[in-house]
């Protein structure tokens, strides 16, 4: 069970953003993808999920051995991929609970019984320490930044994907919200789920310890390593990595 990104080139309108990205996330692993603003992290996240605004010009996205490069987002989701959005859309008139019921039922032959769904929702709400009244609000309408991220984690918990991509789920969160989010990710991580945590900062990695760290610059993965790479980045910053990469390019 794995998500494999092979030599991925992606453009938006006429501009190429990703210039050949390779990455492999297996079930049970936690990966961190780090990089400064504009390095292409969100482009990668959106392309993995099949956002129609992003065009793959070369390379492949392979999920569990199946080429998903051209698949519709709903097929990717039903196959077990999940993206926690950095800026989730507002869905007026549709409550969190109703939205979740639609999403959960979309991957089942028979819709879940209302009672069973209610029980499952209550369990996850308790687990994530979310106020129960939250689920009757319209999804993301009038939500604070922290509430939006909680809603994303609640969806993650309900949908139980094989591979979850979290796009800057830590950004803009205060320490309490960050803890809720990282507790949630830790609770859900395990042998049944792999995750790719996309982040600008090393802060969340104090709570969710990655097995692998990838650093992205200008649309390419330029450094890879274990958790110690995040620590190095914390000390030295992205400019150091950039200088290193440029020096290597000159040397060759």
């Amino acid at each position: 069970m794995s998500l494999e990104i092979q030599n991925l080139h992606v453009r938006i309108e006429e501009r190429e953003i990703l210039h050949g990205v390779d990455l492999k996330v297996e079930k049970g692993q936690t990966h961190a993808l780090m990089g400064p603003n504009g390095s292409g992290k969100s482009t990668l996240a959106n392309t993995i999920m099949g956002n129609p605004n992003y065009e793959v010009t070369e390379g492949r996205i392979v999920f569990n051995g199946e080429d998903m490069t051209e698949a519709d987002p709903e097929d990717r989701a039903q196959a077990g991929l999940f993206l926690a959005f950095q800026y989730p859309a507002t869905v007026p008139g549709v409550s969190v609970a109703n939205f979740l019921r639609l999403a959960v039922n979309s991957r089942r032959e028979q819709p879940m019984k209302v009672k069973d769904f209610g029980k499952m929702l209550r369990e996850q709400v308790d687990l994530l320490k979310i106020d129960p009244s939250f689920v009757s609000r319209y999804l993301n309408e009038g939500f604070s930044g922290g509430e939006k991220k909680r809603a994303e984690i609640l969806q993650l918990a309900m949908l139980k994907p094989q591979i979850a991509v979290l796009d800057e789920t830590d950004s803009g969160l205060d320490i309490d919200a960050l803890r809720v989010v990282s507790d949630g990710v830790n609770a859900l991580s395990g042998p049944d789920m792999g995750s790719l945590i996309i982040t600008h900062y090393t802060r969340i990695l104090n709570y969710v310890r990655p097995d692998f760290v990838h650093i992205m610059l200008d649309g390419r993965v330029v450094r890879e390593g274990g958790a110690e790479l995040a620590d190095e980045l914390e000390d030295k910053g992205y400019d150091f990595v950039r200088a290193e990469v440029e020096a290597a390019a000159h040397a060759s």
Binding site: G50, P73, A77, G93, V94
Partner: protein, 434 residues
Amino acid sequence: MPPSATTTTAWLDDRRAEALAAYEAAPVPTWRRSGFWTTSLRKLALDALETRRYEPSDELPAVLADALGDDEYGALVVQRGASTVHVEVSPELAEHGVIVSSLERAAQEHPELVQEAYMRRLSHAEGKFAAAAAAFWTGGAFVHVPKDVRLDKPIQTAYVIDEGGVAQYAHTLAVVGEHAECSIREYCLGTPIEGQALHAGAFELYAGAGSNVKLAHFHDWGPGEVYDISTKRVEVARDAHVGWVPVHLGGRLIKQQLDLITAEPGSDMRHTGLYFTEGDEHLDLFTTDKHEAGHTTGDTVWKGALTGDSRASYEGLIHIVPNAQESHTYLQTHQMLLSQKAKGDAIPSLIVETDSVSASHGGTVGELDEEQIFYMTSRGIPRSEAVRVLVEGYFEEVVQRLEDPGLEALVRQRIAQKLLAAQDQVNEFIGERA
């Protein structure tokens, strides 16, 4: 067409005669606005239509029975074609002195009450069809809720057209006394008729000082060729509140003016409408939020969606007259295009003739948000279902303002049916844009 022979009230005969003269003098109108919009009646063969009489019946017309469902109600007046065919008033209402009857009958039995309010805010000088309604109406509906009476169950009036070739001239007059509270629902319903039909209607509601009125208009003339040219006007007196929800879900050509007048200090209104056009339908709505006194408040929200080749135009005017300082009002209008060939516009406008007021408006005309669709599909929800849920969600804010579970369910059901009928073209339209 002669006025109803049963009307013996001289003052009303005079009013009808004046209206008839106005009708004969007025040309068949064409409504034009800057831009592409024109509402024309050139396809309506007006002379081929006739007023048609029907016998009273204990049984409700099927289309109305379906719409009413099992909800309990306090009173019901039904007009089919030109005739009042069914009147029910619960004993409870009668005990409270509430009058609900045809307007024809009320003009005879309660001439003072009718004369005092009749067309106080309407005029036969507002165009050919306003004059026609004033001259030719038969049947009609009269609602009178006395001072201080509070009613739980709604009062319902209904106009039904279930045969082609019919011209229906309608008039509803509702008077709610001081500090009274009630809910009034009016249904305008049609069946899949052959040929053309016309509904030329007038509706007037006077909400007395301190009263609280919930008003709903449910229009669904069905897929037949029904033309509806009507004026509806609501006056809100001192410290009264009216919440009005007009819903338009079908009709070949609808031209309506809907006006809410906050007339005295403390008047407050909430006006929430929706429309969903399909096929060859043409809808032209003009609403006014008129503040005639200071310290009045208003809140208007209209939402529409268009499929097929339909045309829909909504124009909403906020008008604050001189000396109506400290009025506060807001108008927003949204329109969603769901097919390539549908065309519409939504125009908020403002006339403010005084200072110290807050009046603002906003409007959007757009398509479904691709970002929202991606968000939903990324959760595994199929694209077509995502579209359906987004459109239903878009209308939900308005539907909930009906504050009436039975009517809410009916509106939701009709929205879902319309979406289902248009599913292929909506998917094609949305798909093409992706």
